[in-house]
Symmetry: C2
Subunit: 456 residues, 2 copies
């Protein structure tokens, strides 16, 4: 009997049909939903009709006129793109056990939406429309400049041309746009977001999965901010190679704690040095000690940030675990994400308890989190979209501050090393040996935070 | 540094101003919100203007005409009632550190709402309007018959008179009613529920606390259903007086497991015997073994239903704990709700991890939960509004099925004993001794589920 997280109570498949004019943040919302649900082990995928159109419309100029409803060539390509996208999506639902598929397109006419509705119903999939409606011109212009000038449609064109052409494209869409209407669409399941989240209309949200998506979307904001992640400083248990427990920092761990305020300042840069952070720690001593020299007033302890509970293995070294529970030791290496320590937790269990933390992180602005190896891996996996099978094997060394800067379609990562040596707590698959001493300036262990991810 | 649950991140005080015609379920929603927030340790209180009016308008007949906007006597009393209620609420915010106050009244005109808005702003309290709008006549009549004929306004009047008079009262309110409007009230924070939850309009929901209330309200339904609670059958650890662990059922525990299907049938009654329940257990063997003879197909395991983690004391008897950690043992008796076992959990920690379970329970219909003593106490406390200082001391004996039937303003409780003896696991304050053998038909220990609560 498998363990259920809250997300698996129902047996519902949902097609989220995005609705809205270009430059309303639809793709951003769609991608965030996919990342969030995937992190919760809900099989989700986004089907972007624009990408399909770019693949097939290679022998024609795609400028604003392409999107004129009177342009037959354009309309044919666009029809072909939506047909391919929906066909692929339905195939994915049936062949790959898809649970939440997102159709990312403008779907701006009632006629188009009716067709998708029909297709969903024929395939026993619940359609949920998600409209981003925006008439705040400042927001729209900001979005155009931020995102669209880097669009693949404007490769090799200057920003000025791109912005102007894109505004023209929007005008063509406006000619036919029909917004979701509380009366005309009263029978449909829909969410309508008005000017980001200043007003939200929810209609016939019935299944649990739909209500989770609604709650997540409700909590998103678009203010720029950063999130900092750090493990606690080296602990006494780290020195002896024991896992779990509630030990104090080692001498070098205390040195990291004292250095941390300086690392944070460095990451903020001169002009932002007065930024006020909120510090979150676990309830364990080593994270609180690590936070103790930070000059920020708001420091909160979260039980949900405590290290993975190793149950009967708490306080043991990996060698002792291998000796005492050889089968468990092997089982964990075989499937580290699912393996649950006797009387303790698995990585999957951590993700479930971190879910409210993620929701709160989405709502907040600048947060510095000091937590533990396994928990940090799970948080990092959420922001960087790291697959489950990889996340428990990521190397997150001690004495290193990680800064995440969420952008429209990527998260920038930077790592600031404290230059204070620490033991390695990284265990390779198939051995009970830990890595060599980490110098705090370079890591020999498998480093899954690659440079290439900096601008993912 | 106190441990924060998700609810304490902000420093916001909210006044929830109910809006809507009579018989729209406002009081039910208000009371549920208070119960939910109180359970999460958020200081909340409901101020029902009708109760204030009944206290002061003792020298006049209160029938429908009393609510005629042209009735000066009635209007004066009603004005006096709202003044008293809001004055008391503001006093409660300042003197009793109130966090969420709910003003339960019709607040049906924009003029009235403007006055409350002004008062809130003068006191630095965030006003959030919560309207229940309903034009489904069947729903309204059902609500009138269910609730209003038992209203204190119609004591000693027959149901027919009550229903008719009440409909007349609603007509008077309709003359002046102004619903919350997406345009006219665009600057206000409000939730508008249309025909229960078939449509929901959210406007300027900004703080976390507000978004929690929204999410809770979104998940409520009014379909009749029951919830069954049971501890696992007596376990091997129960026999030896050890806490925690993951032991098997004792021979008597297995007898309870075999008897359980019969108890559930008995509680359903003849006409509902085919009701399809969903069974939730923890991930521990003793709850799954207890569920093993139940004939229902949907059985889900939840990590969040696991027993309170006793950390370093796991597997010990109370006597051993008293001997090994005498100070902890005393500290726990002094504040059992807050006391956290070394490396383990407190009751407060359980409530935090149960929160998603409660949300899911609100969404679901008939659920049978097989879990553990501490977890069951916390679930029971939610449904029965048991104060924190009492809930860890409630007696929930083994081999007893509890059935809860939520009603508009109360929850009916019935207990069905299996007549299979079991040890007592109830520890009185100030001793490490457990109670005497429980016969399964009567309990000598302090029994906080009193008969008087049956119709609370």
């Amino acid at each position: 009997m498998p363990v259920y997280s809250i997300s698996h109570v129902e047996n519902v498949r949902v097609c989220v049909v995005m609705v809205g004019l270009p430059a309303r943040g639809k793709s951003l919302i769609a991608q965030k939903i996919v990342r969030y649900l995937s992190w919760l082990s809900i099989n989700s995928k986004c089907f972007n009709v624009g990408s399909y159109r770019r693949e097939i419309a290679t022998d024609t100029v795609v400028d604003a006129e392409f999107f004129d409803p009177k342009n037959e060539v354009g309309m044919n390509y666009r029809q072909e793109a939506i047909t391919r996208a929906t066909t692929d999506m339905m195939k994915w639902f049936s062949d790959d056990n898809g649970v939440v598929g997102i159709l990312d397109a403008t779907n701006s006419t009632r006629d188009r939406r009716d067709k998708i509705l029909k297709l969903c119903r024929e395939n026993s999939i619940e359609p949920m429309f998600l409209e981003s409606f925006c008439d705040d011109q400042d927001l729209i212009m900001q979005n155009i400049l931020d995102v669209k000038t880097t669009s693949p449609d404007y490769l090799n064109r200057n920003n000025e041309f791109a912005a102007e052409d894109f505004l023209k494209r929007i005008k063509f869409y406006e000619q036919v746009y029909e917004t979701m209407d509380q009366k005309a669409d009263a029978d449909l399941t829909f969410i309508k977001l008005v000017n980001v989240n200043s007003q939200i209309i929810l209609n016939r949200i019935e299944s649990y999965l739909e209500s989770r998506i609604v709650y997540y979307v409700m909590n998103l904001h678009i203010k720029p901010r950063s999130i900092w992640l750090s493990r606690h400083g080296e602990s006494e248990y780290n020195l002896t190679g024991q896992i779990g427990g509630d030990s104090n920092l080692s001498e070098r761990g205390w040195r990291y704690a004292k250095r941390l305020p300086e690392l944070v300042l460095k990451s903020l840069g001169e002009e932002n040095k007065h930024t006020n952070l909120t510090v979150w720690t676990s309830t364990l001593k080593r994270t609180q000690q690590t936070s103790s020299f930070l000059p920020y007033k708001r420091k909160l302890q979260w039980k949900a940030l405590d290290e993975l509970d190793a149950g009967e293995c708490d306080g043991m070294t990996y060698e002792e675990i291998e000796k005492t529970f050889p089968e468990d030791f092997k089982a964990r290496d075989d499937d580290k994400y699912e393996y649950r320590y006797r009387g303790g937790e698995s990585y999957r269990d951590i993700v479930i308890r971190l879910e409210p933390i993620i929701m709160e992180l989405e709502r907040q602005e600048n947060i510095l989190i000091i937590t533990h190896q396994a928990v940090l891996r799970c948080l990092y996996a959420y922001f960087m979209n790291v697959p489950q099978e990889e996340s428990p094997w990521m190397s997150i060394p001690l004495h290193t501050l990680i800064k995440l800067e969420p952008r429209a379609y990527s998260t920038l990562v930077s790592r600031i090393k404290a230059d204070i040596p620490a033991v390695s707590t990284y265990k390779e698959k198939g051995t009970s040996q830990l890595g060599e001493l980490e110098t705090g300036t370079a890591s020999k262990s498998r480093d899954l935070i690659r440079d290439s991810e900096l601008a993912k």
